[in-house]
């Protein structure tokens, strides 16, 4: 096929990656220690949940979705999900949840092999926000019952168009209530100054993360979506720490240097596409290689942008938390989502869009109800829908998908003529 470029061209690795590995190891070893030390407490939190409150109250925070992704990336999910199905879960419910629960039932965790720790740290409390989906509530509750730990949550109004003052006040009230519950149950006292500091650090990490992603506006782009899903770990797992800020300062400098020097993530970059939806963790390498070979960069994604919040400029930290967590893309209505996407396509000079139709995550899938067709018609952008899943590789057909991607890039070529 004419569009295949020789694979002899090598990728130039992002140097910061080494530092990232060390950071992640330290993070997990610390969590493991916290779980073992009687005087320390571990809180589980959803990825866009109110972790700043937990950090400010002295909890060490663990994010179970990361474990779901790891199980997917290590191709373990499909072996573990049947264990969860055995206790009643539907095989088409969130595969982060079912593979994580399956892993617990099977006493199997890649954390052992990767970081040398026994597995996820035992929770003292589990905290969720349904801003992303209600599945997290079910997921956390399973552990709450198993470990006898309290499960607390924030439930913002869902699927919003315009986010109004009333919505934010409602969520702010719930955050206040969450603090009171945590104080009461654990005999703690929130230090408001500390919360402000944590929120400030969280927001700074997030702002830097956005700048990192924005370097992909350059042509050629210095990073791809496939780099993004690796390097976004600190902005989720270490939000509110100085380590995350330091990491992104380093990464940003490296990427800016790449832009200056014209170092491309995908050499001879011809096309720039957008990834809408969840990553396909078990197939990242195949996909990344395919796009690389096609000299096509996946320059931006909704997923990586999910943690790029607006900046905190002092004032009430709960208001910032309420606003940013309610305004996230996944919690919005279709019009708002389409407007956001349109803006992203413009900012990143996108030539085509890939929609990942993740079988077990309808919440983060936007191809089920005609959005790709609308984007094609309204914006004249080619759009491809890929069937797959975030963690369960059984829903992904490599041969078919890779062929479809090739055909899609051919279509981009046609269009460019």
């Amino acid at each position: 096929m004419s569009s295949i470029v020789s694979t002899v061209v090598n990728r130039i690795e992002i140097q910061a990656q080494q530092k990232l590995k060390e950071l992640l190891r330290a993070c997990f070893v610390n969590l493991d220690e916290a779980a073992r030390a009687p005087e320390r407490r571990v809180a589980w939190c959803t990825s866009v949940g109110p972790c700043e409150i937990l950090t400010a109250l002295g909890f060490d925070v663990y994010f179970p979705e990361n474990h779901g992704a790891l199980l997917g990336a290590r191709k373990l999910s499909q072996h573990l999900i049947p264990r969860a199905v055995g206790v009643g879960y539907c095989a088409e419910s969130c595969s982060y949840m079912t593979s994580d629960i399956g892993a617990t039932l099977a006493h199997a965790s890649p954390l052992r092999e990767v970081y040398g720790i026994d597995g996820p740290p035992k929770p003292d409390v589990l905290v969720y926000s349904t801003n992303q989906c209600r599945e997290v509530q079910d997921w956390m509750s399973w552990y709450g019952r198993r470990d006898g730990a309290p499960v607390l949550g924030v439930c913002p109004p869902a699927h919003l168009g315009e986010v109004t003052r009333a919505h934010i006040e409602f969520v702010r009230g719930q955050l206040r209530h969450l603090i009171e519950e945590l104080e009461r149950r654990f005999g703690l006292r929130m230090d408001d100054r500390r919360l402000e500091e944590v929120v400030d650090r969280s927001s700074r990490a997030s702002a830097l993360w956005r700048q990192v992603l924005d370097t992909a506006q350059a042509r050629p782009s210095p990073l791809t979506f496939f780099d993004g899903v690796i390097h976004m770990a600190p902005v989720i797992l270490m939000r509110g720490s100085t380590a995350a800020i330091d990491y992104y300062v380093t990464l940003l400098a490296e990427l800016e240097a790449r832009v200056r020097d014209g170092v491309a993530a995908v050499p001879d970059e011809r096309f720039r596409v957008y990834w809408e939806g969840m990553p396909i963790w078990p197939k990242l390498r195949e996909l990344s290689t395919k796009f690389f070979d096609l000299a096509t960069v996946v320059a931006a994604s909704t997923y990586c942008n999910s943690w790029a919040f607006e900046e905190y400029d002092g004032g009430d930290p709960l208001l910032w938390m309420a606003k940013t967590s309610t305004e996230i893309f996944i919690n919005r209505d279709e019009d708002t989502k389409e407007a956001f996407l349109e803006e992203m396509f413009r900012r990143f000079s996108i030539d085509g869009v890939i929609f990942h139709n993740a079988r077990t995550c309808p919440n983060n899938t936007n191809s089920r109800f005609g959005m790709p067709q609308r984007i094609r018609e309204r914006l004249g952008l080619p759009a491809l829908v890929i069937d797959g899943d975030l963690s369960d590789a059984r829903f992904f057909s490599a041969a078919q998908t890779l062929t479809n991607i090739e055909a899609f890039v051919e279509q981009l070529e046609e269009q460019a003529r």
């Binding site: 919003l160 279709e334 005609g370």
Partner: protein, 385 residues
Amino acid sequence: MATTPDIVRICRELIDLLPDEALERARESRPDLRGFGVFPVYAPVEIIHAAGLMPVGLFGAGNRIELSHAEARFQSFICSIAKSTLELFLGGHVQLFEGAVFSSICDVARNLASLVKRNAPGQFIDYLHMPQNMYSAQSSAYTRAELNRFRTNLAAHLGRPVADQAIAESLLLYNRVRRLLRAIYDHRRQNPCSIAAADLFAVAMAGTRMMPEDYLPLLANFFDQVRSTRVRARDGVRVVIEGAFCEQPPIGLLETLEAGGCLVQDDDMMIGWRLFTQDIDGDGDPLAALAEAYLRESVYTSVRHDARRPRTEGLAQRVRDAGAEAVLFTPAKFCEPALLDYVLFRSKLDKDGVPHLKVEFEEKMWTYESVRTEVETFAESMLFE
């Protein structure tokens, strides 16, 4: 006075009507009446009624229409109610309607609402962001504000106010409807042989196809008949149906469940239309009263999270109250909230030693033979244990 079979026949006819047809039927006595669609699970029908409109339940189309337009826009693994509800709009079966209201029950409903909105120009399509947290200090104010937003926007669309006074009057009317439904359900709990599950379903659903003023006497009549008719007791496993809170099972399925050896004593069908456990006080601010009822007086459902009243307890209580021996889970195929809750319910029932069976359904179900065999096996295993 109509007999029970007469009433059931009328109701079965009504629930088979597509939205515009149901409205045409109501227009025979109210020529200028316009409709307003209510997608499950819950919507404040009082506000719609107070606006002079007929609230009509949008429960898809059963298997009455071909999905010629909607199928192309939806993935195959989506519940049938979403597909056929969109088809109702695309196929022009909701034209006599001022609009429709959806609420934040699941991701499918969100998408459906926005698709309907795009495809129903000139109609007022709203989406209620009902609270998912019932106990925050702001829950009451938030819920009232959300209901008020709906009222205000509906009024703006219609170009006439929807006054508190009118809502309060509608509230009283719907109180009476819900009170009667509660009484009938109570009666069935005590005497499961007195009403076939399929018949009660038809009667309850008919209320989503009529003006409450017309429905009330029919319901009262039905209750009188049922109460005064002596019935022969039948053998069967006394069950509670759970999981049909949004998409409604085909009536043939309900008949099969009972023919297969079960006696349905309670169910969660049409739950949003009979959500409240008691009358709502209509004396003060009616929207505040509705908000309070939603937060405090609602029956549990899989789309409403109540931290202090877990749904597992709700189901256990329902089983106890009905004196049921088993639970039949009837989730609509691909219904995410129902399938997620199935895990919880199942483990609770296992713990309590309550047998259960799962029977999924979809609109395009033509034969019930395999379901019948499953149910028979289940029932026999219990009866002859």
